[in-house]
Every structure is written in C-alpha cells, then in structure tokens.
C-alpha cells in the first residue's frame, strides 16, 4: 500500500499540470485529454509504475454535461496494483489519440468504444464496427440513441 501511495505521488509530481483530479483512496486519476499519450507512455515505461496490462477501456456518456468520459483500467503485473485513469472529451467532437501503440489490446477495446459510442481514435490502424453490422446507423450505448424497434417504457 505504501508503494502504491509513493508511486501516485511520483505521478503527481511529474504530471501535476495535467492532472485535474486525484482520488487516491479509490485509486482513480483524472487527467487532461491532450496529454493522454505522453502520460500513458510514462505509466507503462516508468520503472516504479510498470502498468503493463491495459485491463479495460470503456466510455461513459454523461449526456447532461455534454461529454464522454474515457476510462482506462491499468494493471501492473510487477507491483500487483491497478489504477483507473479517466479523461473527458466533448460529446460533439469525440476525438482522442489511440493508445494501441502502447498496448495492443487497445486496438479492439477502442473498436468496441467506437462501435457503441462513436468515439473516434486518431491513428488507429483498423477502426471499424466490432459487434454491429457495418451499415448500422447510430451508436446504441449513447444515452440519446433512438431506434424504430425500441420499446419505450
């Protein structure tokens, strides 16, 4: 646990200006979306952090704030701890850099996010629908998604 707090302090010292919010107790960090790639490289390559597995990447649609939250769950196999990194992008311009150059699995996790939320990843090698058909209209996990076949309660 001490190691964990120490490493978070290290992140905080180095990337202070990018970190918007820091919730150590819940192991959650909120960062600025422009520096995502730099920050993620640091998280994976720094010898005190070594977050070598991208456990999960998902999107939360906060439709009232007009924003998407991108959530990354990282796990370090060496130090046995995980951390949640989240960042916010505007809903009307949902563009963010891909992290698939850092962790290969991100390529498919990001395809899922594109499929369901329409988040666009720059420099992604193979951005296409993952579960739905290629001619599907709209992004079904968005909160304002409407469809002729939906049953409204």
């Amino acid at each position: 646990m001490n190691k964990m707090t120490a490493s978070i302090e290290k992140i905080y010292n180095k990337y202070q200006k990018f970190i918007v919010e820091n919730v150590i107790s819940k192991k959650e960090l909120r960062i600025n979306s422009e520096n995502l790639i730099d920050f993620m490289y640091f998280m994976r390559n720094d010898s005190d952090l070594k977050y070598d597995i991208l456990c999960d990447h998902t999107v939360v649609d906060w439709v009232n704030n007009n924003s998407f939250d991108l959530v990354y769950n990282l796990y370090s196999t060496e130090y046995k701890n995980y951390i949640i990194i989240s960042t916010t992008i505007p809903r009307n311009k949902p563009i963010i850099n891909t992290v698939s150059g850092i962790w290969r699995i991100a390529e498919w996790q990001e395809r899922e996010a594109y499929d369901f939320f329409g988040v666009l990843y720059t420099d992604h090698k193979d951005l296409r629908r993952l579960f739905l058909e290629d001619d599907w209209i709209g992004f079904p996990l968005r909160k304002d998604y409407k469809d002729n076949f939906m049953l409204e309660m």
Partner: protein, 385 residues
Amino acid sequence: MAIHLRTLNEVLHSSNKKKTWGTKEYFINMGPQHPSTHGVLRFVLRLEGEVVKEIIPVLGYIHRGIEKIGESVSYRNFVHLTDRCDYLSSIINNWGVSKVVENAMQIETNERIETIRTIFAEIQRLQSHTLWWGVFAMDLGAFTPFLYGFRDREFLTSIVEDTCGSRLTMNYIQPGGVMYDIKPDFSTKIKNYIRYLRPRIDEYEQLVSNNIIIQKRTENVGILSKDDACSYGTTGPVLRASGVPLDLRKDHPYGMYGKVDFSVAVGSVGDCWDRYWVRIEEMRQSLNIIEQLIDNIPPGKHMVMKHTAKIKLPIGYHYDQVETARGILGVFVASDGKDSPYRIHLRSPNFNNLWSITKMAAGLKISDLVAIFSTLDIVMPDVDR
C-alpha cells in the same frame, strides 16, 4: 490526425489486390457455425495453401446488448444477466457484480457466506475445466475424453442443481449473501466427489497428456511470449502459461482465498502445452481448496441483506474484479446514485484473450489454429455480451 473508418468489405478487397506468384492467396470463412469455434465465432482466414496468413475475427453473432439492458434494471436483477455471459463460470460472474456492490456499499458479509461462495467458485472452475479438457481433446481428434469430461462434470452439475435449482445458468451468489442455504448432505456429496475425481485427473493425464499425438500437436505450437501476453491483455490460464504469475486469488485475496493454502500453476514457454498443463494443475489446486474448506463451514446466516432492500451505489466510478475460470472478470459501474446503474461494463476475460490468436496463429497451419483456439478456451456469449 488520421481517422480512417473502414468496413469488412474494404478490408477484404484491399488485401486481395496484393498479387503473389505461385500459390494464390484466398479467403475462407471458418464459422460462424463450425464445431471447433465453440459457438458463433467467425474467422475470415487469408490463406496460402493451408498456411494461415492472417486471421480476421468477426464478432457479434450472439450480441445481446447486456450492458444496455443493465442500464434499466436494478443491480440485483443485473446479477442474473451475468451468468448468460460466460455460462461456464456463471457463479463466479455473479460474484463479480456482488463484490462491486458490496464494496461500494460497504456491506460486511459473514464467514459462512464467504466460505460457501469460495467453495462454489471452485466447483465452477472445476466443472469448467473438466468440460474444457473434453472439448480440447475432441478438437484435436480424440472423442473419448469428451464423454469422460461430460460424465465427470455431470456430478458437479447435479450438486449445484440440488442447491440452486439450475443446471447451466446458475444464479447463486447475490449482493449480501447467497440465494439459498446449502443442503445438509452437501459436504458429504462434495467429499465423495473429491475422492472420485482425484484419481480421474491422473487418468486424464494418462489418456491425453501422455498421448504422443496430443504432445506433438501442442508442444511449441502457438507460442505467446511474456511481453505479448501482457500487451494483448490476456489473463487467467493463458497469461499464467506465458510465465506471468498473475492470479487474483493469490495477489488480491477475496472470499476465503487468503486463508487457504494453494499454489499457482505457472508455465514457462507459453505454448499450447503449457496452457493445457496449467489448467490440469488448476483442477488439482481447486480440489485442494475445496478440501480445506468443506469440513469447516462456519454456522451463520446465508444472507445478511433483506431481499427487498434497495441497492443504491454512491455517486462515482466503482471497479472490482474476480478471477473466473478464464481470467479476470472486471465489473465497472458508473453510478449516479439511482437504483439502477448509469453505465455498467463487463471487462470480459474471453474478449481480451481472444485477440492473442491473431498474433499466435499467423504463419501456422489451419490445424494448429484449431489447437490454439481450443487452448484459449473461449466462450462466445462472453465475448459478444
């Protein structure tokens, strides 16, 4: 800044234009209805002769939108959807959701609940691995192990049926406890079964592990290095076979795992054989865990929460993970304080394990692809959700 959206058709046509002399490259569909893709997975294979050049998995044939449904049901109802995902570790999936709810609401359970949960999780792991063992051998052309695997799984299925009433989609663990208390003859039945299965696992080894055909088809086939295994996000037996000792039961103990003695099987090469061996060893360890717990299930209630009590999570993000038979199941909940989740996301172990096949099987023969896919042990409903 380059965003290029593509379709499957474009992908197929763009790589078709590459002209090669000699054997022509061609595409072939493996699945969605194919006996060795274990469900409705479709591979589009780019082949040259029978050498696989490229694998394009096409998903979505059993996509049911479980995450979208989850936004309109309560947490207690959502538990029942999770066992429709990975139906071979359904009770462990129940536990995943229960764990996130309990940790967020700070519900303290008692020792009896945790012991029963741990025993059932291990039963589930055992029955998943026995089934996998049979199916694996059948994929490689041996039919007898398939029958053996199902025969031995049947006992466990009927024990679970006695307790919770269903045979496949077992709903047992709930936030705040387990649904029903165990039957009085539960521990005798389990003890008999352990006595029965131990020699059976040795028999499995004689039948399949010592078989020269199985050995030749798995050794040094589909090697996944340590770095690749991490980068491709694999967890569970696949990651452990590549030499990374990541097991949540050991590293972040939950339930009664902190109080029992067991070891984590870790491979060295990361080929199909290691993945096979890790699962066989895990079966033995599961038996050890159950054996240590079955004699001292402490008395107490099986549910610490009222069935009608409202479950509301504090506002914010909650994440928790459990070790299923296939790897880490993470449950991510974004809560806005209402009684149904604002967004719920399952980090499915199968989805993340699946993609390592694009790395492993490229350049090998189709028959090797079948062996590799079988040792990944994918359950399709969990990939598509």
